[in-house]
Symmetry: C2
Subunit: 405 residues, 2 copies
C-alpha cells in the first residue's frame, strides 16, 4: 500500500458529489472507515485498542515497557466536507508508522520509544458537540459520561451511535505517551502564497464558542402591527449582522461567525418564535477574545431590549492561545530542510486534536498547503506531491521522536 | 349539538400544550377532523361532496335546481397554531346551516336559494404552499395539478397526503353559487380597542410573497479570512434586518416579514452555504407594495454584491387590494344592529378564502374580536359570548342571502 492508495480508499467512505465526503462521527460511513483502518493497522502488525469514547489506537510495540510516541488525527468529517481534513493525518501516520516499522525490523532504526497511531473520535464537533472530543476525553479535559451523553439533532446519544457502529470500546491505551505528532492540511492560503512545502505550527489562536437561543412570540405575519412583533428571526438577524460588522472592522487577527441556525415554527405566515445559533469568537490573543465577549454580551442585551426578546447564552468552550513546543518546531524545520523542502512557521486558527494534546505533552503539529485555502468544503484540495512531502517530513520527525528527541 | 360543543370537539383535534393545535393540511389530525365534520354534516341532513383538491361541501338542498349560497372557512391550522383561526368559521357555518334548515323544515323560512357549508383545503399554506389553496383551485385561479403537486418539507406531495387521509375526492360541487359568506376571528386588536361585537370587512390589503434562496460557499469558521467569506447566513441577516427597518420606518399601512428559514449545512464550524426564507410585503395600497418590491429587489442585489452571494427570488403570489361587496357590508351592519350588537367596518390584512371567492361572486366577510390581537399562536382567544354573537349575526346574514338578498 501507499499514501496515495490509502488516501484514495478513505476518500470513498461517505463520498458525495464534487469531491465531498460526509462521514460525521459515529455514522455508518464512519463505522466503515474505522473497520477499514483497524484491518489496515492490524495487517501492518499493530495491536488494536478501542477505548470507551471510540478512539482507535494501533500499537507498534518495539520495546516492551518503553515510552510511546503518539501520532494521528481524525477520520470524521463535516457534513458535505472535504477529503483532506483529518483523514490525511491518519493515513500519513499509518504510512509513516509502517515505514518506521520496516526500518526497525530490518535493523536500520533502533528506537527507544514505541509508536502508536491514533484516530481520535469526533474532532469535528459537527454531529455531536463539543469538537476535539476524543482527544479531550483521553487527556482528561472532558468527562467520558458527558461526551457519551452528547446528542445529535435527532436525539441520538453518542453512546448509542458508537455502540451502533461497534466502536464503543472497553479497553484503554495504558502506555506512557511522551510525545505527540500530527500532520494536517493548513485550511488557509498562507502557505500557498508564501510557497511553503511544510510548516511547523508555532501557536494556536484563542477561541470562545457560544450557543444562543432567542425567544420571541408567534404571531400572524400579516395582521400583527410591526411594533407589537417579537420576532426571534429579526433578533437573530441583528445579532449576526452585528457580529459580522464587529469582525470586519477589527484587524485580521480576529475572526467571528454565526452558524447552525435552527428556527421554530416553519410556516410562511407565522412570526418566528424561537431562533438558535452557534457563535464563535477567535483571535491570536486571548485578551482580544475576552474583550469581544464583553461586547457580545452587551450587544445581546441591547437586541433583547430593542425587540422584546429573551436571549439565553451558554458558553460551550473556551480555549486560550498557546505556544507549541519550541524544540518540536526546530525539529520540523531541520527535518524539512534536510529533505530540501521550504519550511516556515504559522499559527493555527482552527482547533486540532494536537491543540488539546499539547497541553499534556511536547507536541509537533505540521501543516501542508491547502489550495486556495478552502476548508470544511468539498473544494478542499492539496497537491499529491505536497501530501508526499508532508509524509516524508512526518516520517523523519517520528524517527527522531522515537529515537528519543 | 351547539356551537360551544362543536368548537370544543374541534379544538381537541391535534391539540398540544397551552391551547395550541397542530392540524396542518392533510395531516392525520386534519383527516380526523374532516371525518368528524363529514359525520356531523351528514347527521344534520347534508349531502357530502369531496372535490379533487379535498374541499368538503355539505349540501342542504331545499329547492332542486335553485342557486346556492356558500358559507365556510377552513379547519387546517398553522404549526403550534391557535384554535379559532378557520375552525370557528367552519363550526359557525355548520351551526347556522342547521338552524336555518330547522326553520325551513318547520315552515318558518322559505328560501329561494340552497345552502352549502364548505371546509376549504389548506387555507394556511403552512405545510404546503401556496395558501388559500382549496378556494383558489375551486375558483379557477390555481391549476389543480399544480396544487396537488405541491410538496411539504419532507417531499410528500399534497396528492399523496390527501390520498393518505382519504380526502382526495373525485366529485365536484356543480351547483351555481351566487353568494359567499365567511366568519373569522379578526387576528388584530382593533375590534377589542373599539369595543365592537362584530365587524364587516370592507377591503383586503395587497400582498406580495416571495421565496429567496441565498447561495454562498462553505468554509471553515475559524481559518477562513473574514474578507474571503461568502456567508449565506450573513446575507440573510442583512436582508432580514433591512426589511424590518424598511417596515418600521414606513407608516402603519405597511407590514413586512421574513419567515421559515432553512439553512445548509448544519455544523458549528462550517460557514453556511445556503440560506432560504419566505418574504412578505403587505399594504392597504397595491402601489405601496409595488414600490416596496422595487426597493426589495434593489436591496437584494446590493447585498449579493457586497457579500459575494448569489440570490434568487421567486414571487410566489401577488394579491391586489380589493373592496368587498358594499351591499354585503350594509347587510352585516343591519343584521348586527337589529340584534343589538355594536358593529363597525375594517380591512383585513391577512388573506382569507373569502378574499379569493370575492373575486368571483358577491361575498360577505364578518369578523369577531381577537383578545389581544394574538393570531397564528396558541394565545389566540375569543370570548365565548363573542363567538355566539358572531354566529347569530352570520345566521341572520345567511337567512337574508338564502332569501334572495
Amino acid at each position: 500500500m501507499s499514501l496515495a492508495e490509502d488516501f484514495a480508499r478513505v476518500s470513498r467512505f461517505g463520498a458525495g458529489e464534487g469531491g465531498a465526503v460526509d462521514r460525521q462521527a459515529a455514522t455508518a460511513a464512519d463505522g466503515d472507515q474505522r473497520r477499514w483502518l483497524c484491518e489496515r493497522l492490524a495487517g501492518a502488525g499493530a495491536r488494536i485498542v478501542v477505548d470507551p469514547i471510540g478512539n482507535i489506537f494501533g500499537l507498534f510495540t518495539w520495546t516492551d515497557g518503553a515510552d510511546w510516541v503518539m501520532c494521528g488525527s481524525h477520520l470524521d468529517s463535516q457534513p458535505n466536507g472535504g477529503r483532506y481534513d483529518g483523514a490525511y493525518g491518519v493515513v500519513a501516520a499509518l504510512n509513516a508508522a509502517e515505514e518506521l516499522d520496516a526500518r526497525v525490523r530490518s535493523g536500520n532504526l533502533t528506537p527507544v520509544r514505541n509508536l502508536v497511531v491514533v484516530d481520535w473520535t469526533n474532532e469535528e464537533g459537527a454531529r455531536f458537540q463539543p469538537s476535539v472530543m476524543g482527544s479531550s476525553v483521553h487527556c482528561g479535559f472532558l468527562a467520558l459520561e458527558d461526551a457519551l451523553g452528547s446528542t445529535d439533532a435527532s436525539g441520538v446519544t453518542l453512546r448509542q451511535a458508537l455502540s451502533g457502529i461497534g466502536f464503543l470500546g472497553n479497553e484503554e491505551f495504558t502506555g506512557t505517551a511522551v510525545r505527540y505528532a500530527e500532520i494536517h492540511v493548513e485550511q488557509g492560503d498562507r502557505m500557498e502564497r508564501e510557497e511553503l512545502d511544510v510548516a511547523a505550527v508555532s501557536a494556536n489562536w484563542a477561541a470562545g464558542k457560544y450557543d444562543i437561543r432567542i425567544t420571541g412570540e408567534q404571531g400572524h405575519t400579516g395582521s400583527t402591527p410591526m411594533v407589537q412583533r417579537r420576532d426571534a428571526l429579526v433578533g437573530l438577524a441583528r445579532i449576526v449582522a452585528a457580529i459580522d460588522d464587529f469582525a470586519r472592522h477589527h484587524d485580521e487577527q480576529f475572526h467571528a461567525s454565526a452558524t447552525d441556525v435552527v428556527t421554530f415554527p416553519h410556516s410562511p405566515n407565522v412570526v418566528t418564535s424561537v431562533a438558535a445559533a452557534h457563535i464563535e469568537l477567535r483571535s491570536a490573543e486571548l485578551g482580544t477574545v475576552l474583550r469581544a465577549e464583553e461586547w457580545f454580551e452587551e450587544m445581546l442585551s441591547t437586541v433583547a431590549d430593542a425587540y422584546g426578546l429573551e436571549i439565553e447564552v451558554v458558553q460551550r468552550s473556551a480555549r486560550g492561545s498557546r505556544a507549541f513546543w519550541p524544540e518540536g518546531i526546530e525539529l520540523t524545520r531541520s527535518v524539512a530542510q534536510s529533505l530540501g523542502f521550504t519550511v516556515g512557521e504559522l499559527c493555527t486558527i482552527a482547533g486540532h486534536d494536537a491543540v488539546i494534546v499539547a497541553r499534556t505533552m511536547p507536541t509537533v503539529l505540521i501543516f501542508v498547503p491547502s489550495c486556495g485555502g478552502h476548508a470544511h468544503s468539498p473544494r478542499e484540495y492539496t497537491l499529491p506531491s505536497d501530501l508526499e512531502k508532508g509524509l516524508v517530513t512526518l516520517t523523519g520527525v517520528l524517527a527522531e521522536l522515537t529515537a528519543g528527541y
